[in-house]
Amino acid sequence: MGNNRAIEKYEYFRRVDAICDLITGVLATGAQTPEELGEHLPGLLQMVPEYHASLVPKVYPDLVEAILKPKNRNSVGMFILAFKDYLTALTDNMDEGRPLVSNFPFFSPEIFFSMGLVPCLSEVIPFVIAIALTDGVVEELDESERDGLPGHVCGFQKVPMKAIEKGLLPKPDLFITNTAPCDSSNIMYQLIKKRLNVPVMMVDSPYYNDTKAFKYFLAEFKKMVENLEKATGSTLDEDRLRRHVEMGNEQLKYMYGLQELRRHIPCPDPGMHRVLDTLAVMMTGTNEKLVDYMRICYEEAKERVEQGTTFLPEGKKEIRTLWSWSHLPNMLSLPSWLEDEFGSTFLECSLSVLPAENVGYVDTASVESMIEGLAWRSFNFPMHRNVMGHTDIHVNDMLTVARAYHAQAALFGGNQTCKYGWTLPKIMSDVLEEELGIPSITYEVDYLDARFAPHPSIRATLTEFFQTLV
C-alpha cells in the first residue's frame, strides 16, 4: 500500500499518530521526571521512526514534565491509546474506501458508527496537534490569514479548511455540523462548502434550551439521520448503534461520578484531565478505551478520596478554582503547574461541566429512543446548552458548580474568537463576587495559537492573581 495508506498520506494524521506513539513510549520508560526521562531518551529515539524523532524537539517540554507526573500518567496514557485506536479505525475505514464524514465535535458520533462510518473529527485533529507541538498549526493559521481570514475568525474551522486544501487532511465526502455555537462556525462552513466543493449538512440549533427548542432540534436531528443515510448509502444498524450508545453511557457514568468526586475537599481529580475529558466527550461512544480512560480517572480519584490523599504537593494549601470560561488546549500543562505552584485545583469549566441531571443516559430500548437520547445529549452538551440562549444558562451553571464544589477562585481565560463569550467576564465576576465572594481574573487566549498569549505571559498573569490569594 505504501504511502497510499491514509495514516501515512495525510500529514496531520501522521503527526497525531506519531504524537500518540511518542507519549506512549515516554510513559513506557517509567520515568517520572524530565531528568529521569533524559536518561532514557537516547534509547527511545533510536527505537522510534525517523519521522517521530523529528517531532521530539517540537514537543512542549512542560507538557512532557506534566505527563510524567504520577497524578497524570495513567489517565493520559489511556487517553492516548484511545485516541490512537480512533485514528487507526478512521484511517482503516478510509483505506477500505468507505465514505468519509466530518462531524462537528460534541455532535453524537454513535450515529456514524452505527452506519459503519468512522467520523473524521476535522476540528479535533488540529486541537491535538496544538496541544503537543510548539509550532502546532501556526503555519495553517498564518496561511489562512494571508488568504484574508483574520485572527479573530475561529481557528477550528480555518485550520481544517487550509489543511484539506494543502492535502494535510483528507477531503471528506460530507461535513455535518449544527448552527451552534457561533457566527464564525456558521459562516466558515459556508466558505468551506464553496472552497472545497463538499456538501455541508447543517442541523439548525434553536435559540433557548426549553422543551419547544428540543422538539425543534430533535426534528432536525432525525432529518439529519435520514439525509445521512441517503448521502452515504449506509443504513443505521440497530445493534451497532446500541453497542456504541452503551459505550457512551458507560463513559458518561464515570464522567458523572468524577463530577461528584470533584466536589470533595481536597479535589481528588487532577486538572489536566479537564482538557482530555473535553476530547473524550467529543468522542463519546467511540471505543472501549475511552471508557477505560474515564474509569481510570474515576478510580484514581475515588481512591484518593477513600484514602484521604491528595495529588497536591505536600503542605500545599488547596485553592479550589473554577475555570469560568474554558481550559486552554494549547497549554495542557497549565492546570498541573497551577496545582504544583499554588495548590489551585481545576474543578470545572464550561467545556467539562456536564450536569447528569441535564444530560443523563441514552435509553437503548429502541432505535427511536436512542436517536431521541442522542439528540437530547447533543442538545445539552457543552457548546450547545450553555451557548444557544441567554448568558443566564452559562452563568447559572457556573454559579451552581461554584456553590456545590466550594470554589474559592475563578479564572476566565476567554478565547479571543468566541465572541459570544465576551460579555460574560463582567457578568460572571460580579455574580461570583456578589453571591459567593469569589474573586475572578480575566485574561485573553487563543485556543490554537499560543503566540496570541504566550505561555510565560499567562503564567505571569496567573501568578500575580494567585499571589494575592495565598
Partner: protein, 417 residues
Amino acid sequence: MCVKKALRMLEDEDESGAHSESLKGPAMSATSISSAERLSAVEELTTLPLRGENPYIRDWKESGGRVFGYTCSYVPEEILYAEGQPSRILPIRLGAQGTTTTDDADIHMHKFLCSYCRCVMQLALTGEYDFLDGVVLTNGCEHMRRTFEIWRDQVEPPFVTMLSVPHRRDGDNHFQWYRDEITKLTDEIGKKYGYLPSKESLRSAVRTYNRYRELMLELYGLRSIEHPKLTGSEAMKITQAGYCMPKEAFNERLATAIQELNERPGITDARARLMVGGSYIDDPWFIDIIESTGAVVVTDVLCTGRKYIEGMVDETLEPVEAIARRYFQRDPSCPRMVDGYPERIAFTKRLAQEAKVDGVVFERITFCDSHTVENLMESEDVEELGIPTLNLEREYLGGDKGRLKTRVQAFLEKIGK
C-alpha cells in the same frame, strides 16, 4: 450637478450645524414638524435629528404613542407598527451615529465585540435611549445577541425581549419557529401594553410598508442611473430618516424628495461608480470618505440599505403569515443564514451589473465574523465578473479616516479611475 458640489452642499449644512449637530439635534430640537416643512423634503430628510431630538419621535410620544427600538432587519416592523389599543408603536432602528466613545459600554462588553453594538450600548447606558418604551433584539449575530443581557440588566428598559431567528429557512419547521416567535412577541407586548393589532390594522401597516419599499426602490433607481441624482451619502441619510419616522410621514416626504431629486441635474463628473457591501452602516461617514475621492456610491448591498427594502409583503395572504414570510424567507438573506449564499451573491452580482459599477467596496466592522468571511466569498465571485473589489476593515466609530481614504484612492488608481 457634480458630486463635489453635492458634498459641498452637505458640508455647508454641516457648518450651519444642521447635519453634524443634528445628532444632538440643536437645529431641530426646539422645532416642530410643521417648521421642518419649511425645508425642502431632501433637506429635511438629510438633516433630520436622530433619537430623542427627532421631532417625529417627539410628536409620536406626545400624542400617546410608544416607541420601540430594534437593531436587526429580521424584526418584523409591520407587526409593531400596526395600529393597536391603546396606542400605536413606532419602531425605530437603533443607530449610534455620532458616538465618540464606548467608555461605559466597554465595562460590560469586551473589545472583541463589534463596535456598533458597543456604541448602541453606550447610548443606552448613558440615557440617550431612555425615550424608548421597548426594545426588540434578535440573535442576529453573537455581538447583538449578547447585547440583550446587558440591556436587560444594566439599562432596565420598560420592555425588552428577544426574537430568535433560525439559521436555516428551507424547512416548514424553520418558518414555524419564526412565526411562533412573532406570536410570542405580540403576546408579550400585549401583556405589557395591551397591544392588540387587528387584521385590518396589520393590512394597513403592510400597505404602508410596501409603499415605503416601492418609494425606496425608486430612490435607489435615481442613484444607479447614468447620471445619479443624489450621492450615496445623501441616500444613506434619507434611508436613516426612514428608520426614525412614522412610515406614512416618511413616505409622503420621500415622494416629494424624489420629485425634487428628479428636478436636479444629475452627477456628471463621477470619478467612479461604486457599490458598497458588508457590515452594518448607518452613519454616512464611511460613504463620505469614499465620495470625498470623487467616486459616487451608486448602490449597495447593506442590510441598512438595499437589502432592507428588498421584497414585498404579499397583501393577498393572511397578514401575520405574509409579514413573517417576507421577513424570514426574503432574499438576499443575512450571512447568518447558512442556506442563503447562492441567492446573496446572485443579488450582489445583479445589482453591480444593473448599476454598472466600476468596483465594489466591501467593508467589515472589526470582529464581525459573518461579514468578514461573506465579504471574502462575495469578493471572489464578483471579481469573476471582471468587477474589481476592495476589502476594508473599519470601526463603527468614525476613526482611521486617513487610512481608509488612502485605500480607496489607491483602489481607484488601480482600476484606472
